[in-house]
Amino acid sequence: MSSIHPPSERIWWKQPIDKSEIIWIAIAFAWCMVMFFMMPYWHIYGKQNLSTETYRVTPQLFSKAAQQMVDKYTVRTETDRNIPVVAPPAGGDVYLIARLWDWWPIIELEKGKTYRLHLTSMDYQHGFSLQPENINVQVLPGYEHVVTVTPNRSGAYAIVCNEFCGIGHHKMVSKLYVK
């Protein structure tokens, strides 16, 4: 009799279980509990928890908020397309538009300060991928996702799109500065 035969014992559920199995199941179960409780633990004591603050939004409303921020806080422009570089005040709201196929505008933040980063897409789904930090967040159209970020290193970062969004996907990349 084998695993491809019916069990040799009709009452197989009353057969005793081997010690090596019992001990392994106990260890594996304990490890599963450790892994499970790591998540709530990190929500209490850890400093990297992705916010789920979300609002319904339309492209028009979000564009308006982003434009207001750009009008108020633009410090310079970059590239021959004059992409505005915006330095909003610490603690404030930062609006980042994802669209085919760029991120707009360029953001400049201060190290150690906290910002409310608003993300949405104007069209398809996109992926916010901050490099080389490697923080990755999904960006959906119709939803405004507010992520609270506190940069801990200064430098020039890149925002790569890592959700396939059509033929220009691999050119959808922008900058983010931390002073």
Partner: protein, 569 residues
């Protein structure tokens, strides 16, 4: 036995009985699967040679098109066709009964073929370059969704035929007691498949109507939630199916019996209860779903499905150890595994599948399925790295190993070039192993998945990835080629054996029921029967502890890494 006429062919080599109603269907579904593997494999090579940045073979449009087709033809078509063959085998053949409603089974097969052709035509006509996931609002031609729906309906019918065959076997008393463990595992796969296909229907039918212009809007967040109920759960069918195949191969090669029927079956039941929550794995970096929802679902309700996999990870090799010790390989902890038939591809493929699935696929999967850690790899090439370890090393290699058994038994052909077959699992499994590690390495430094050009040539504000990213992609390219060669050898061997292999005696058609004569049919008593006082599989237990240490270390290394990134709240 409610069989009229000589309906059973008894394989003279194994004693396995194939009913006339099931045999051609098992064969055809397996053949269709291998054809899909061939198409998907050619596409794999082209995609691979493009992502290997130094080679960068095909242009962007074609790359995204091929990637869409590669994903679907491999992840869905190759695997599900083979799984239908397994379902029919595990019911009709293992329970020695007729297949329920064979005409409907032919209809199911036809629907699956028509569906496959339909969506492939849509993709290759350039009307559906939307990736396997086809996230809305990116839209494909209606034929794309329609093809998937037709395929799914066919697969759903096949699942119900499997369940119907269990009923037939029970009613006609073709076996005594409970169904075999392997059939139980296949039943787990069928139940998960029904859930999966229902999820697919719930989202793909409205999306089809939206694409055809009858519905104005599909919510992208809802689409992701329900689509992944199909997309991820379909991979859980594979897990249940390939673990059933592991148990089957342990039985075929070693005559192994489960260490404990109760433990192994409870582990399968845990899959049925909890595996489908994994839709959440893909939504951990999403807006619109809450933290508590993410934590509960991503952990399969406190990791109970991970527990099940860890149990199978012990009991499958454990059952081999018990069988080997029963045959006298009792020296030390590891004689049983040293003296295993490493040149038999049925065994070596299965064992590489088991180790690769656990160490590479399992550990990486749990890491990336942790709510906060997911941010570090979401949508990077780490993700395909992980699932190539689970679905290619795990499922595909397990299915390949089973094929080497089925060629003589089901197709009555001698394997051409057995010397090559001996090496195939090593080439494929180890090539894939390095390939997945390189992908995960590249993902750890941020390389995105589904991306034509990580040098961002022509972009206004390009970014330069660290040199290690390009190095990882080169390693991925080279080891991927090794794996593709291994896959090519598999197709050459299977197709070649069917076409030119020496015909073997098929055995008589009879109405009698005969006992199985598997290669090893030692009466396993003693420890194998589960004496509670024993410690029947000490060698396997040591392997399990090595696995646990690797798991714990890798898990906490990633928490450490997370603690150094920007503050997020």
């Amino acid at each position: 036995m409610a069989t009229t006429g000589n309906m059973f062919r008894i394989c003279p080599r194994t004693g396995l009985q194939f009913h006339k109603s099931a045999e051609p269907l098992i064969k055809l579904n397996a053949v269709a699967a291998v054809v899909a593997l061939l198409v998907g494999g050619v596409l794999a090579l082209l995609v691979l040679l493009t992502r290997w940045q130094a080679v960068h073979l095909i242009d962007a449009d074609t790359f995204y098109l091929y990637l869409t087709a590669h994903g679907l033809d491999m992840l869905v078509i190759w695997i599900i066709f083979f799984e239908v063959a397994i379902l029919y085998f595990c019911s009709s053949t293992l329970l020695r009964c007729r297949l329920a409603t064979p005409r409907l089974a032919w209809l199911a097969f036809a629907l699956m073929i028509i569906g496959t052709v339909t969506f492939n035509v849509a993709i290759f006509a350039g009307k559906a370059t939307v990736m396997m996931t086809s996230y809305v609002p990116m839209q494909a031609h209606p034929a794309f969704y329609l093809g998937l729906i037709l395929f799914a309906v066919g697969a759903l019918i096949a699942c119900f035929i499997f369940l119907g065959t269990l009923v037939v076997a029970k009613a006609e008393k073709t076996y005594e007691g409970s169904i075999p463990l392997v059939t139980f595992g296949a039943m787990t796969a069928a139940i998960i498949a029904i859930f999966t296909i229902a999820s697919g229907a719930i989202i793909l039918i409205p999306t089809f109507l939206w694409s055809a212009g009858y519905i104005s809007h599909i919510d992208p967040a809802m689409y992701r939630l329900i689509w992944w109920g199909f997309g991820h759960s379909s991979q859980q069918i594979n897990v249940a199916a390939h673990i059933a195949v592991w148990y089957a191969i342990a039985a075929i090669v070693f005559g192994a019996k489960p260490m404990s029927e109760r433990v192994s079956r409870i582990a399968f039941v845990l899959y049925i209860c909890f595996l489908q929550l994994a839709s959440a794995h893909h939504l951990l970096a999403d807006p619109a779903v809450g933290t508590e929802w993410k934590v509960f679902n991503t952990s399969y309700a406190m990791y109970l499905a991970v527990l099940a996999s860890m149990i199978h990870g012990l009991t499958v090799p454990g059952s081999i150890e018990v069988a080997q010790r029963g045959k006298g390989f009792t020296k030390g902890l590891f004689e049983w595994i040293r003296k295993a038939p490493w040149s038999n591809p049925v065994f070596s493929g299965m064992f590489i599948s088991l180790v690769g699935f656990g160490f590479l696929g399992g550990i990486s999967g749990v890491m990336m399925g942790t709510e906060q850690l997911n941010m570090l790899i979401h949508n990077t090439i780490y993700v395909p790295g992980h699932f190539h370890a689970t679905v290619v090393i795990g499922t595909t290699l397990a299915f390949m190993s089973l094929t080497y058994f089925l060629v003589p038994v089901l197709f009555n052909r001698e394997l051409i070039n057995p010397g090559l077959a001996k090496w195939q699992p090593y080439l494929f499994g180890l090539g894939m192993g390095v390939f997945t590690l390189a992908m995960m390495g590249a993902g750890t430094v941020g390389v995105p998945r589904r991306h034509w050009d990580i040098t961002f040539a022509g972009a206004a504000l390009p970014y330069e990835f660290p040199g290690v990213a390009l190095l990882m992609l080169a390693i991925m390219g080279i080891s991927g080629i090794v794996a593709v060669i291994g896959g090519g050898i598999y197709i050459y061997l299977t197709v070649g054996s069917l076409l030119w292999g020496k015909r073997l005696d098929a055995g008589p058609y009879t109405s009698e029921i005969s006992p199985l004569r598997l290669p090893v049919q030692v009466a396993l008593t003693g420890k194998g029967d589960g004496h509670a006082a024993g410690f029947a599989a000490p060698g396997t237990f040591v392997f399990a502890m090595v696995f646990l240490v690797a798991f714990v270390l890798y898990y906490f290394v990633n928490w450490k890494y997370l603690s150094t990134v920007w503050g997020l709240s």
